[in-house]
């Protein structure tokens, strides 16, 4: 009975996320997996992940690297014969993994997303150069060095802005107020 209860809780959590509500409709046909450019490098394929979620394997699902390899190309979503939005489901699982402290270190994607979001939160815009430098320094300073030739080439071709675009002070405060309110309310429906 305990297992059943746990299972229901996890499925409820997923169904409460926008995009997660149709997970019950999956018929395990594998179309999403066959369509996914990155299925081969995922710990679990998209269809496996759905089956595991339905079996209540919360920890295994949320600590999988699968959703972090989703490219958001939406090929699975437009092909699913059951109308499941797998891409959105992957995003929902990413959010749940973060919420549960289970986004792991075997892929750098969670760290990359966080670096991106930190910049957007504080500036309201994304300075690509600052974001990439920050991400590489945080995760692997050696790779930051390897990126120097590319940075120089971008600079030479006038594609590198050191300075970030700023919103007006009023706009910055407004955005901050909106995002702070959102954070205070928390995710989920």
């Amino acid at each position: 009975m305990e297992i059943k209860k746990q299972n229901d809780t996890f499925m409820d959590e997923i169904r409460a996320m926008p995009g997660g509500e149709n997970i019950n409709l999956c018929i395990q046909c594998g179309t999403c997996t066959a369509s996914c450019p990155n299925a081969g490098v995922m710990d679990h394929t998209p269809s496996q992940l759905i089956a595991m979620a339905r079996a209540g394997m919360k920890n295994e699902v949320l600590s999988s690297n699968a959703m972090w390899h989703c490219l958001s190309c939406y090929l699975c979503t437009v092909r699913c014969p059951r109308g499941i939005k797998q891409t959105e489901l992957m995003h929902a699982l990413e959010c749940l993994a973060v919420r549960n402290g289970l986004s792991h270190g075997r892929t750098l994607t969670p760290a990359m997303y966080r670096s991106f979001n930190d910049f957007v939160y504080s500036l309201g815009s994304l300075p690509e150069f600052g974001f990439m430098t920050w991400f590489h320094l945080l995760t692997n300073p050696l790779r930051a060095l390897k990126m120097i030739p590319m940075a120089l080439s971008l600079l030479k071709h006038k594609r590198l802005s050191i300075r970030a675009r700023r919103l007006t002070p009023d706009g910055t405060n407004q955005l901050r107020a909106i995002l702070d309110k959102a954070e205070a309310m928390g995710d989920g429906l």
């Binding site: 994304l126 690509e128 991400f135 080439s153 594609r159 955005l175 995710d187």
Partner: protein, 290 residues
């Protein structure tokens, strides 16, 4: 003159795809479109925000949509990611009343409200469907006859179905290329993924996808490839040298924003189209039109 509210997105305004923004504005003027930049817009949040902070990601978009609603015009973006993210928020606010209530409360904290009336459109949609291929053809001063072009859509301009074109076998960009006099090659991977932002965190995986695209374009004897997304352009152009290093290949395929190619056909100057910003040189391909 047709008026639109314009959402350049971070890359095409102050980022690595400035040439996309320049060329989009330049060809719009020729086509008598008025793209007025949305005042004080913020980043759409792209995939990273929606992946880890769901509610906040909707609020980021909702602020832009609320600001755009005041203009009463369609919101046009040249970026496929902005296009999907803003449309996604529109769709979700309609579909999930509870989410709508939360977003409404958050927006109110910033003194804003959004009623859900903004139509979000990709620049390719506007050019193909509002302006039309015939009007584009009328403005051609340098017919691009003989030029073989790989029309690359990538993912998010056609998927999921917010769209104006088929999610797997789109045609609009092919037709646009033809209206410039050029030849759109049959490009089987035209709506496949370039690796997106994973090129930053999982470079090897993304380079594999980029190589596939370059390989497909070469097999079709394309002389250049055009994109409708800043990130696709970056992955194919900026990372092309890294593909060559990693796989021992020798690709040298110029990657243009589709608005740059239009500008060449319209007789616009290289400077106004930012052709010097393309990493793989485009000069050889466009020289005969100057």
């Amino acid at each position: 003159m047709k008026d639109y509210t314009y959402f350049p997105g971070c890359s095409s305004s102050d980022g690595g795809a400035k040439a996309y923004g320049w060329s989009a504005q330049a060809v719009s003027k020729i086509l008598e479109m008025n793209l007025v930049e949305l005042d004080d817009w913020n980043c759409c949040g792209s995939t990273p925000y929606s992946s880890v902070e769901e509610l906040a990601s909707f609020c980021l978009s909702a602020r832009n949509l609320a600001l755009a609603e005041k203009t009463g015009l369609d919101l046009v973006t040249p970026c496929s990611s902005c296009y999907v993210i803003l449309n996604r928020t529109n769709a979700y606010l309609k579909q999930y009343p509870q989410l709508k209530a939360k977003v409404k409360e958050a927006l109110a904290a910033g003194g804003l409200a959004y009623n859900g009336s903004v139509r979000v459109r990709h620049l390719l949609d506007v050019l193909a469907n509002d302006i039309g291929y015939d009007s584009i053809a009328e403005k051609v001063r340098k017919n691009l006859g003989g030029l073989k072009v790989a029309p690359y859509y990538g993912c998010q301009v056609v998927r999921p179905r917010y769209g104006f074109d088929h999610p797997e076998f789109p045609q609009s960009l092919d037709k646009l290329v033809a209206s410039l006099g050029a030849e759109p090659v049959d490009f089987p991977l035209k709506a496949r993924c370039c690796g997106g932002s994973l090129i930053i965190s999982e470079e090897d995986l993304a380079l594999e996808l980029v190589r596939g695209l370059l390989d497909s374009a070469r097999k079709e004897k394309a002389q250049c490839l055009i994109t409708v997304c800043p990130l696709c352009q970056t992955n194919l152009d900026v990372y092309q040298a890294r593909v060559n290093r990693r796989f021992g290949t020798d690709y040298r395929l110029p990657i243009l924003f589709f608005t740059q190619l239009m500008g060449v056909a319209f007789g616009l100057s290289e400077e106004s189209l930012g052709l010097e910003t393309n990493i793989v040189p485009v000069r050889e391909v466009v020289a005969k039109y100057y």
